[in-house]
Amino acid sequence: MNRKVIACLLALFLTLSVLPVLAEDANIVRIGMGYDPNTLDYAEVNLDSANFVIEATAETLIRDIGNDEYVPGLAESWEKSEDAKTWTFHLREGLTYQDGETPITAEDFRYNLMRTIDPEAAHGNASFFIAGALAYYEGEGTAEDVGVKVIDDYTIEYTFENPAYESTFTSVSLFGALEQAYVEQYPETWGASAEAYLANGPYMVKEWVSDASVSLVKNPAYYNPSLATLDEIRVIVGATGDTGVDMMLAGELDIADFTKPQQIQTLTDAGFEVKFDYIESYQGLNVNHAGKTEETGKFLGNANFLTALNLALNREAMVLSVRQGEIPANRLTAPSEAAYAANPDYEAWPTAGDPALAKEYLDKALEELGVTLDEVPTFGLMCFEAQGSIDTLAVVQDMWLQTLGIKTEIEAVTIQVMIGNAMSGQYDFWLGGNSPSVPDACESYLTGFTTANYTPLRGYSDPTFDALYNKTVAATSLEERYANYAELEKYFCENVLGIITTWTVNYEIAPANYGNFYVTSGGNLNVSSLTK
C-alpha cells in the first residue's frame, strides 16, 4: 500500500511539473536584482529594485536622463523664482494613467505630496523640503500652509524652505502623481501588488510574484511610446553575485550588476560586456564624536586623534585585499557626484596612508589629552554581520594596531540592532555606506552633523560647520553652491568628521549587442530605451 501512495505522489509531482516552455522572444530583457521591491507605494519605497520598477513605471514632473541632464516629464515646462524657492509647473494636457481613462491633473500631485507627509499615516519617505511641511507633520502648522498650490488643473506651484534644483523634482514620493480615488480603494495594501498600483510611466507592472519576479510591459496609454523599446522587462529577484554569474552563463539572465573583479572577469571572458560603471556608495567608518562611553568620547572628540586614525589607514591595501573592485577614497565627494566635477583636484589624504605622520598626530593628540598610549581605551568597531564588512573591520583593526598600537574590538550585529545602536549613539566606530546624493552630500549625509539636526548618531555639534553648511544650502545657483560646498568638504576632511575609506563601484554587465541604457543622476538604473 505504501508503494502505491508513493507512486501516486510521484505521478502527481510529474503531472504538476509540466515544463513551461519559454517563448524565445527577442524583446524580453531579464534583469537581476538583489531584493524584492517589497512595496511600490511612493511614500514607502526604499530599495534599489523598487526604485528600478518605479523609474520604469512612474514618471515625475521632470525626467532625469543621466549625466545631470533633465528634460520635461509630466510637466511640459516650468519656471522658478529668482531665489529658486518657488517653482511653477505646467503639466502636459490630456495625460492619463496606465488604465487609459483616469486623467492626470495638478490635484494628483498635491494629493501625493500631502499623502507622503501625512502625519497620521507615518510614511517612511516623509521628508520636509517643502515650506511648512515639517510644521504640518509635527502638528504645529496646517495643511493649508504647506507650500504646494494647485493653480488650475494643469498648473501646480511648490514653495521650498531652501533653494531647489531640477534634480529635486525627480523624487516620486514628493513629486509623483497619484489618483486619490484609486488609492483609497486599497486603504492598507496600496502598492503591495500589481493590482493595487496605478502609475503613468513608459511601462506598467503586469505581474508581480513576491520574492521571485516583477514583469513590466509597455504602457499603451503613455504619451511618448517611443520611450518604451522593449516588449517586456522582467526583474528577477536574488539574481546577483555568483548566482547571477551562473544564470548569465546559462542564458537565464541578461543584465545584472556585479562588484567582484573575478565575477566580471568570468563574464567578460564569456563574451559579455561591461556597459558602464557607477559609484554606488561611499563606504567608511562613521564616528560617534561623543563616544559610546565618556572615556572613548574624550578621544573621539579630538580632531588630532581622529586624523591619526585616518592617516593610519592604507586604503590601497584595503582595495587590494578585502574591498576588491572598489576605489580608494581620497576625499568625501565621490567622482560621480556633480560637486566633484566642480573641484576635481582636491586630495584630502594620501590613499596609501602616512604612518609616520599618523604617529605624529597621535603623539600630539595624547599630549593634548594628557595621557599615555597605555591609557587609551579599547574602541568598538561595529558593523553589519556580512562577511565583507567583518573582513573590512579586521583590516582596520590590524592597521590601527600595527601602526599606532590602538586596540579595537569588532562587534558584528544584525541590521536592526546595528541601526538601533547607531541611532542611539551606542558605538564608537561603525562601518557603513552612504549613497551619493544630488547635487551633493548636503542633502543627506551631512545634514546629521548640523546642530539643528543633532542626534546621538553623530554626537557632533560645531558652529563653524553649521555656518559652512547653511551657507552651502542657501546658495541660489549651483555654481555658488559648489564653491561653498568645497569649503565645507575641506572642513569635513580636515577635522575627520567621518572616515571615508572607499567608493564602491557597480559594473553593469550585459550581452555585447545591448546598448542605450543608463543610470540616472539619482542612482537608478533605467533600461526603458534599451536597444539590442
Binding site: 504538476l16 517589497n38 499615516a121 495594501t189 544564470m247 546559462a250 537565464e252 536592526q416
Partner: protein, 309 residues
C-alpha cells in the same frame, strides 16, 4: 481512542498558546527597533512606532496581539508594507512544502535503502562506499555543494536550469541539495538501528522458519528498525517543509525559508510571530500524527498508550 485524541488536541492548543507567549516576550527582549532607519527622519520613526502601537507597554501589546490572534488576524508585515502575514505565508509555504516534501520522500527512501544495504553488507565494500557518501553528505555544507552542482549541471552540462521555480527540472537540484543531509542521516541511523534489530530472537526465528531472505529483511528487520527512526519524522518533515534559507536563496525559490531569518534580523514583529505560530502549529500536528503512527508500528507501545489513556 476518541478521548485520547481529544486530550492530545487540547495539549496541542496549549502548546501553541505557550509558544506564542514565549516567542512574543523573547522577541521583545531583542535589542533594536524595527523602525530604526538611517534614511527616515526621526520624527517619522516616532510616528511609525506610534502607528503600529509599539510605544505602548509590552503587556498591552501582548494582549492586543493575542486578541487579534483569536480572531485569526496575524496583522501586517512591518517591512513588506501593505502585505499581511497570512498573505506572505499563503504564497510562500506551498512552494517550500512542495519542494520539501518531494525532497523528503526521495531522501527518506534513498536513506533507508542505503541503510539496509550497509547493514546487510556490514564490513564489506558497499558498506564503506555508502558510509563515505553519508559522511560527505553531512560534511559538505549546502552552501558549497549547491553552487558546485548549479555550475556543473546548469552551466557546463546545461542539463538543468540554474535557478527558478515552476518546472520539475527546476526542482531536482534544490531537492537533492536539501535532501542530502536527510539521506546521509537516515543511512547512518537506519544502519545502526538495523544492526541492532538483526540480532533479535524473532529475526532468528524467522530465518529458522526458512522465510526467504528478502521477506525477512523487509517484513521483519526493516519494519522493526523503523520504530526508533519514526520518532524524529515529525520535526524532520516540518523542518524540511518550512524551507531552507540557503537553498532557497541559491536557487531563487520563492519559499518560506528566508523569512525565518530575515524577519528576525529585520525585527518584523508580526511576521516573526506569524511564522513561529504557523511552524509550531504545523509541527504539533505532525507530532500528533507521528505519535499515532508510532503506536501503530510497535504493538508494545500501542498497549502502553492504551494503558496510559
Amino acid at each position: 481512542m476518541a478521548k485520547y485524541l481529544l486530550q492530545k488536541v487540547l495539549i496541542a492548543l496549549a502548546t501553541v498558546f505557550v509558544l506564542a507567549t514565549a516567542t512574543f516576550f523573547m522577541m521583545k527582549l531583542i535589542p533594536g527597533d524595527p523602525f530604526a532607519s538611517l534614511t527616515t527622519k526621526i520624527e517619522v520613526q516616532e510616528r511609525q512606532r506610534e502607528y503600529y502601537g509599539l510605544d505602548k507597554p509590552v503587556v498591552e501589546q501582548y494582549l492586543t496581539y493575542m486578541n487579534n490572534l483569536l480572531h485569526g488576524n496575524l496583522g501586517y508585515s512591518l517591512k513588506k508594507t501593505g502585505r499581511t502575514v497570512v498573505d506572505i505565508i499563503r504564497e510562500a509555504f506551498p512552494v517550500s512544502a512542495k519542494l520539501g516534501l518531494f525532497s523528503f520522500i526521495i531522501a527518506e527512501l534513498i536513506g533507508y535503502l542505503f541503510g539496509i544495504l550497509c547493514a546487510q553488507f556490514r564490513g564489506k565494500w558497499p558498506d564503506y562506499l555508502l558510509m563515505i557518501f553519508a559522511v560527505l553528505g553531512i560534511a559538505m555544507p549546502s552552501m558549497v555543494i549547491g553552487p558546485l552542482l548549479r555550475w556543473l549541471f546548469g552551466v557546463v552540462l546545461r542539463w538543468l536550469p540554474v535557478t527558478g521555480w515552476g518546472s520539475f527540472q527546476q526542482m531536482l537540484m534544490p531537492a537533492f541539495v536539501l535532501g542530502l543531509g536527510t539521506i546521509a542521516g537516515n543511512t547512518r541511523a537506519m544502519r545502526a538501528s538495523m544492526l541492532g534489530t538483526m540480532t533479535q530472537d524473532y529475526i532468528m526465528t524467522a530465518q529458522a522458519k526458512g522465510l526467504p531472505k528478502a521477506k525477512v529483511v523487509m517484513r521483519h528487520e526493516f519494519k522493526n528498525s523503523l520504530v526508533p527512526l519514526v520518532a524524529n519524522l515529525g520535526p524532520g518533515i516540518a523542518g524540511v517543509m518550512m524551507g531552507s534559507f540557503v537553498v532557497e536563496s541559491m536557487f531563487l525559490i520563492p519559499g518560506l525559508g528566508r523569512y525565518f531569518v530575515d524577519s528576525i534580523t529585520n525585527l518584523d514583529y508580526p511576521l516573526i510571530m506569524g511564522l513561529t505560530i504557523f511552524y509550531g502549529t504545523f509541527l504539533v500536528t505532525l507530532n500528533l500524527l507521528v505519535d499515532v503512527l508510532y503506536g501503530f508500528l510497535d504493538p508494545r507501545i500501542r498497549e502502553a498508550v492504551k494503558g496510559a489513556a
